[in-house]
Symmetry: C2
Subunit: 394 residues, 2 copies
């Protein structure tokens, strides 16, 4: 495959706001052609001389490219800092880790918030609807640009898992190992319904201004906050909510008989909603939820999921969480059955956890051990040097 | 107990808009005194001479007093018409069935939509926060008015079950049998969270006008619709949504790559939201969800649920549904355990159903048979005449 660009130096330093702009237009799944697509991305670790140690991490709905370490501007830890770093499960002393903000996102990649070069103003709703396949196609171009022809591993949770499945099924020769975590091969009716509530909440906010809020200098904060609150409940298990909050009151001894946040869980939820609007774009939320809703790897393969994996050389490891009701274990099992049907190399672990869907973002030892074991085993088979047996992790 | 009113004729005919207004003020759980409380109610069947055949049905969050038959104005079937009527499970040939719109409701009972007599304008947010106990206290006054000192049975689903539990624990000598269906003794953190999302959606709508929308001739339709959509998902099981809609498209062959309702489930949800605003008051939604959130029968009894039932003479039958994730079976089991701890007369059935929480409103044969068996058995013990063994039901 001929890269469209001269590759950058093999050792790309971690820095804010790395960007890559495609010279050729991207033909989207909808048929629309999108020109001058930019992906904002981060890299961690060093690409080896053979260019065989790249791990691509795909982020979730509201995730971003800042995986590890501390973001220089926000001061926040990366969303997978527990897992990615020197000596960690995804060991940046061994692997060259890449994570890009998805197409349609709002952290520097081309999306509805960015300026439409043709119109000289933000895309807003004129931005074309994108799909998981489009996101993955753009990532493949980024890897061309980075000089990575084949990934050692592609992984991610939730919407990240959808991208992993799309990657491994569409580019089987470019992936050695694939780890879809807490994901599904198609978005369920219940999940589409929750997304639709979020979109309706955003669109119900008059400040959304039919999608043109950036042009009229408004932000649909209330609608986006409500969308986030509804979604946030689905990320946790009932047990986790009960353990964290129960019916405990917030900074008061007794009920106030009013509509303030009497309960801690209300206060927490409001906080989740109203801090989200400072870091996320409402139109991006519409586009990315739509991409997830549209994802159906079976339907794309003649209605038979196994067709997506026929003859695949990819080594798969699927991970689900027992209390995840947004992407329940059964959804991962369906993928495992399809992979078994084509005699693929697949392992599967349901991690016992009461933390719900969010467990893939949390310090969950059995999950980390599972990923560690699979990565180390795959690295050995792939001919990569073993993990250094050294003292305490950095 | 001296009724505050002269009782009406024992046989009260079914008619729209029966109303009872309390002469004495109601002292609410908050300590606030509410004057001239009106309850709008319906009755079905005839009170027997001994006044021993009354069944009180308590409605759910968005329910109303129109249980059975066809509403003369709306033309809609009553929400429990499958269960209540001549020859049906709650047989109006045998029982005198009463259902009142709850205090705080919007179907004729005193609530935030009604005129505050002191101010000459709608209550809005000046209406005091009410509780399940307040609702039940008002119902007890209604029964005084109707000349019913002791209920043969009190039953209801969801918030109705909360009222049933409050009734049986607070007025144990006024209840012979109690059937809380798909309920809980306290609202869980997850359920408070979902309610809070609904309230935030309503309050985020500028047309809500800080609760004064009726005064400025507006309706917070968009906010209320979003609240309803989010809540509606919780009433169904994932299996039911999958069975009813799956990923089927709405009136189209292919995805449109846009934000229209491509999927049937989206279309259904939008319909649920936007028809709801025509029949429900946004402020009532705030007040009634708050009443549910505040309900905690254990906390009201020194933190020990069993204390709520000590020495109870009431015969209990608890019913839950296997796919109900809003009020899961475990919540009913906790009540059964508390009743067992005080050696109460209790039976419990978890009905196998994939219909989710809404199953209590649907034609679910095992549920109907359970209720039928318990009612017939209790009627026999209570000395009421047996069900007529006749041909097909009316």
């Amino acid at each position: 495959m001929a890269p469209e660009f001269a590759p950058p130096p093999a050792s790309a330093p971690a820095a804010p706001d790395l960007k890559m702009t495609l010279e050729s237009p991207l033909v989207l799944q909808s048929g629309v052609t999108l020109s001058r697509v930019t992906l904002a991305y981060q890299t961690y670790g060093t690409l080896n001389a053979a260019r065989t140690n790249c791990v691509l991490v795909c982020h979730a709905l509201t995730g971003n490219q800042y995986l590890a370490g501390v973001h220089p501007a926000t001061g926040k830890r990366g969303w997978w800092d527990d897992l990615v770093g020197p000596g960690k499960v995804i060991d940046t002393d061994r692997f060259f880790v890449v994570c890009a903000n998805v197409l349609g996102g709002c952290m520097g990649s081309t999306g509805p918030k960015e300026i439409d070069p043709g119109a000289g103003k933000p895309w807003g709703l004129r931005f074309p609807v994108i799909t998981i396949r489009d996101m993955v196609q753009a990532q493949a171009k980024l890897l061309d640009y980075l000089g990575v022809e084949k990934l050692f591993c592609v992984t991610g949770g939730s919407m990240g898992a959808m991208q992993v499945l799309e990657w491994a099924s569409r580019y089987p020769t470019r992936v050695f190992a694939a780890v879809p975590i807490a994901g599904s091969y198609r978005h369920s009716a219940q999940n589409i319904a929750f997304h639709e509530v979020g979109r309706q909440a955003i669109m119900a906010d008059p400040d959304w201004s039919h999608g043109n809020y950036l042009e009229v200098d408004k932000i649909p904060k209330r609608g986006l906050a409500v969308a986030r609150m509804a979604a946030h409940i689905t990320y946790l298990s009932e047990a986790a909510l009960h353990r964290k909050f129960g019916r405990r009151l917030q900074d008061r001894e007794t009920l106030t008989y009013g509509f303030d946040a009497d309960f801690q869980v209300e206060s927490y939820l409001r906080h989740q909603g109203y801090t989200f609007v400072d870091r996320f774009d409402a139109n991006s939320y519409l586009y990315i939820t739509r991409a997830m809703d549209y994802f159906d790897l079976a339907q794309e393969n003649g209605g038979v999921l196994a067709n997506a994996f026929k003859g695949t050389p990819v080594r798969y490891c699927l991970i689900s969480f027992s209390s995840d009701w947004l992407f329940p274990t059964e959804e991962s099992r369906a993928i495992v059955r399809a992979l078994n049907a084509v005699a693929a190399n697949v392992s599967f672990v349901e991690v016992e956890s009461d933390k719900g869907h969010d467990a893939f973002l949390l310090d969950e030892p059995e999950f980390h051990q599972t990923l560690q074991g699979f990565i180390d085993g795959s690295a050995e088979i792939c001919g990569l040097p073993p993990r250094l047996a050294k003292g305490p992790r950095a």
